[in-house]
């Protein structure tokens, strides 16, 4: 009995983490056909936001409940970053999936290096540069016919603002030394501790269900309900669904598709932030946090089928359960009556091998159902 419970819970807990991290990606991919390679890094930003929130609230009475505020903060921060990403990069590349893939991959590398090297010096330098360059640009654009002087402007202002920014930040760096130049987070991972009430677990017989895992399962369910409600009950949700089904027709009917894209991207990014907050409780927070999840996340989306929430749910559950059952050798007592079968099962029952087997099964599965478990029906999918 406990063994069955253990297996169900193990599969469920792996699956819920997968689903949580894949949810945002599935929505963005489903609506816009954009493969966002920076999704993992948005998760990482969510995890760092959790870390910052934890540190801010450490000495206050809110400390035990910091995780709830961190969830909200992580959602807002990553949604904003996602919005920025959509407005500055992704929207210029709609309809060009390969370019989007490369561009977002570049963004993911930039974000990784950003959290490693961001310091007061870095921020001041960047701030001064942006202030000078874009400030002058908007000033000029307001006063004169900007297009005429654009080339001269770029030629002069770009190096000039870069030099000023560099000099000022270096002077400040020399004046205040380490306090100013020390990276905020650095290359070293940082530590997010679960609040006291989330440590330990629920004891059932000889088995203990970790509270953090239970928390993530509940969080995943809440997120699913919220997303479902948003897509089905709100005006913007309706518009998102309309654009997903037929972009051209929706535009004809007066739906602001660009705005819909931006909102969807922000929503997807915000969900990545929540996932980041959750995985910070389980694992590490460092600049490569996102990379650990991105492959599995794509697997869930691909296996589930594009644009269907229920597909992602089933796929995450299946992959999670398979990984658990194979990796923990849970099958052995059930069908290991024969010594040889038992030996084979044991050979595959390591974490590394479980991953191999799951990938192999996914590849085989995609041979038969290339569009995933729940392919979208209709004439508009090949957009």
């Amino acid at each position: 009995m406990t063994q069955l419970l253990e297996a169900v819970f193990g599969g469920l807990s792996i699956g819920s983490v997968l689903l949580l991290s894949a949810l945002g990606l599935a929505i963005v991919f489903g609506l816009m056909g954009v493969i966002n390679m920076a999704h993992g890094e948005l998760m990482m930003l969510g995890a760092y936001t959790t870390f910052v929130t934890q540190n801010i609230l450490k000495a206050t009475p809110l400390a035990p409940a910091y995780i709830f505020l961190a969830l909200i903060a992580a959602f807002l921060v990553t949604a904003l970053v996602g919005l920025l990403l959509e407005r500055t990069v992704v929207r210029f590349l709609y309809g060009r999936p390969l370019e989007t893939l490369l561009a977002t991959w570049g963004v993911s590398l930039i974000l990784q290096q950003f959290v490693r090297s961001v310091s007061w010096q870095f921020v001041t330098g960047l701030g001064i540069f942006c202030l000078l360059y874009f400030g002058a640009q908007s000033l000029l654009a307001w006063k004169t016919d900007f297009d005429r002087v654009r080339n001269w402007f770029i030629g002069i202002m770009l190096p000039l603002s870069a030099i000023i920014a560099l000099v000022v930040s270096n002077v400040l760096g020399n004046a205040y030394k380490l306090a100013f130049t020390k990276p905020w987070f650095g290359t070293q991972g940082v530590d997010v501790t679960a609040p006291q009430w989330l440590r330990g677990g629920l004891v059932i017989d000889t088995y203990q269900l970790p509270y953090t895992r239970l928390f993530i399962i509940v969080l995943t369910i809440l997120c699913l309900i919220a997303v479902y409600w948003f897509l089905n009950q709100t005006a913007w949700g309706l518009r998102i669904r309309a654009v997903t089904q037929n972009r051209a027709m929706s535009a004809c009917l007066g739906i602001p598709t660009q705005k819909v894209d931006a909102i969807t991207f922000a929503l997807g990014s915000g969900l990545a932030g929540i996932a980041g907050c959750a995985v910070a409780l389980l694992g590490s927070v460092s600049s490569n946090t996102g990379q650990a999840y991105i492959v599995d996340t794509f697997m869930v989306v691909v296996v589930g089928g594009v644009g269907k929430l229920v597909g992602s749910i089933v796929a995450a559950g299946t992959i999670g359960t398979l990984s658990y059952v194979i990796g923990s050798n849970a099958l052995s007592p059930l069908i290991g009556f024969n010594e040889q079968i038992k030996a084979v099962l044991e050979f595959f029952a390591t974490a590394s091998m479980a991953k191999v087997v799951v990938f192999a099964l996914i590849i085989v599965f995609l041979q038969f159902r290339p569009a995933g478990l729940f392919p979208q029906k209709g004439r508009t999918v090949d957009a």
Binding site: E6, G10, S13, I14, V17, Q113, R116, G125, F129, N151, W152, I154, G155, I156, L158, P159, S161, A162, I163, A165, L166, S169, N170, L178, K182, G186, T187, Q188, G189, V190, D191, T193, A194, G200, G201, V203, Y207, Q208, P210, T212, R213, L281, L282, G283, S284, S286, N288, Q291, A292, S323, Y324, I326, G327, S328, N329, A330, T350, A351, S352, K355
Partner: protein
């Protein structure tokens, strides 16, 4: 027409200038740095050495701190007047956590920059990648990290622990402290943990210990639920977890171990890749009471260590900690300096290599000696994580332990040794 082209050139020039300036501002890490050299005299009165570590990518987390301590050693030597009256100039290259890149950069340092020694590498994979280059060029690498042994190159000086200076004594200690308890071996899936676990299994088999399970997580993997279930199933009444996980996997492992209610009282763990820096990243809450085996801990009580820790904090900030590989990186520079001074030259690598043998240095961990097999005699210690994230030293040898690169428990290497002082013996010879 001409105007158009000129204008475009101007933009290109402007953007390139701005870009390169910004790049320099943000990425000061990959550039050449000369530490504390008071304007070297004309003609290049410096001795060039290379520092080859990952400053970006997965391994940057660990390797950057070794760069810090290595640079500190160079700065200290320069401030005290340099080597042979010359300042040391350090050329830093970024291996980017990518083994082919390590090899390229090693070639660049040797052939183009003409350095006289290279300090660097962390993972065994990166060391194995650069080894052919160092052997082909007959050059010199100083490698600062504990490793799995089973290697002994004339061109590498190993200043971290060999297995018999870390893994073997820690297993012996565990068997004494927890008699009769079973072992479960957990590691990342690559060469170091697999070789280490082979050694542990051979040792336990020879000494009457019991291994009830072994599992590996892909490097960087964080999904540890199945492994925790397996440990629980294999050792329901508690037992010892021998842990050679690397990097991020450790964080997930210890967080979830605690979540499953498997604390150090019933499931004590011994780690060989967790040091002061990692404790900070994982969180003291999760590691309190667990063990780690190293040659050096920040809490080692020697006069040399007090100076070392104080100087490091002064240079890099009060909240920084030092760990074993950082200390080994610091030792490497100092032993190299002594060897150069004894040889009277930095350029004749054969002379420097021979002069390095037998060099003794009063290191933070205690006195260490470079042996004829290019490994250091080092002190062995076991620490228990305490509340402030540092280690309480619960075991220490009375003196340095001689290194054995070829393992004496594994049948294939039993009875072999390494000796570079005698050309007839070399890297692997059968002891009589």
């Amino acid at each position: 027409m001409t105007r158009g082209i000129r204008r475009r050139d101007f933009i290109v020039f402007g953007s390139v200038a701005a870009g390169s300036i910004l790049l320099k501002a943000c990425g000061g890490e990959t550039t050449t740095t000369t530490e504390g050299s008071p304007s070297p005299a004309a003609g290049g009165e410096t001795i060039k050495v290379g520092i080859l570590h990952s400053l970006s990518g997965t391994m940057a987390i660990s390797e950057k701190s070794v760069v810090d301590s290595t640079m500190m050693a160079i700065k200290e030597i320069n401030d005290a007047g340099g080597v042979l009256g010359k300042q040391i100039e350090a050329i830093q290259e970024d291996g980017a956590s990518d083994w082919p890149t390590f090899n390229e950069k090693a070639k660049k340092l040797i052939q183009q920059d003409k350095v006289v020694a290279v300090f660097g590498c962390w993972t065994s994979a990166s060391r194995k990648a650069v080894l052919p280059t160092f052997e082909a060029e007959d050059h010199m690498l100083w490698y600062p990290v504990q490793y799995e042994g089973q290697e002994c190159s004339k061109n590498i000086f190993y200043t971290g622990a060999a297995p018999n200076q870390q893994i073997e004594p820690s297993v012996t200690w565990l068997m004494e402290q927890y008699p009769g308890k079973p072992f479960f071996l957990v590691g990342s899936d690559y060469v170091f943990p697999r070789t280490a676990n082979t050694i542990i299994k051979a040792q336990l088999a020879a000494k009457g210990g019991k291994v009830v399970g072994e599992d590996y997580i892909p490097l960087g993997g964080t999904e540890v639920t199945p492994i925790i279930s397996k440990i629980k199933a294999a050792m329901p009444d508690g037992g010892i977890i021998y842990n050679s996980l690397n990097g991020d996997s450790n964080v997930a492992f210890f967080k979830q171990l605690q979540g499953a209610g498997m604390g150090p009282d019933k499931y004590p763990s011994m780690s060989v890749s967790i040091a002061e820096e990692e404790v900070q990243a994982i969180g003291v809450e999760y590691l309190k009471g667990h063990f780690a085996a190293w040659n050096y801990f920040q809490t080692v009580d020697t006069p040399a260590n007090k100076v070392f820790v104080a100087n490091f904090k002064k240079m890099y900030g009060e909240d920084r900690v030092v760990n074993d590989p950082m200390e080994a990186g610091y030792i490497a520079v100092n032993i190299w300096k002594q060897a150069v001074e004894k040889a009277g030259t930095a350029d004749d690598l054969n002379k420097v290599r021979m002069a390095a043998l037998g060099q003794t240095f009063d290191a933070p961990e205690g006195n260490v000696t470079m042996e004829n097999n290019h490994h250091l005699s080092k002190w062995v210690r076991i620490g228990k994580v305490r509340d402030d994230g540092l280690f309480e030293i619960v075991y220490s040898t009375d003196g340095p332990v001689a290194p054995l690169p070829w393992n004496q428990f594994v049948p294939e290497t039993k009875g072999f040794a390494c000796d570079w002082s005698d050309p007839a013996k070399g890297g692997k010879f059968k002891m009589s």
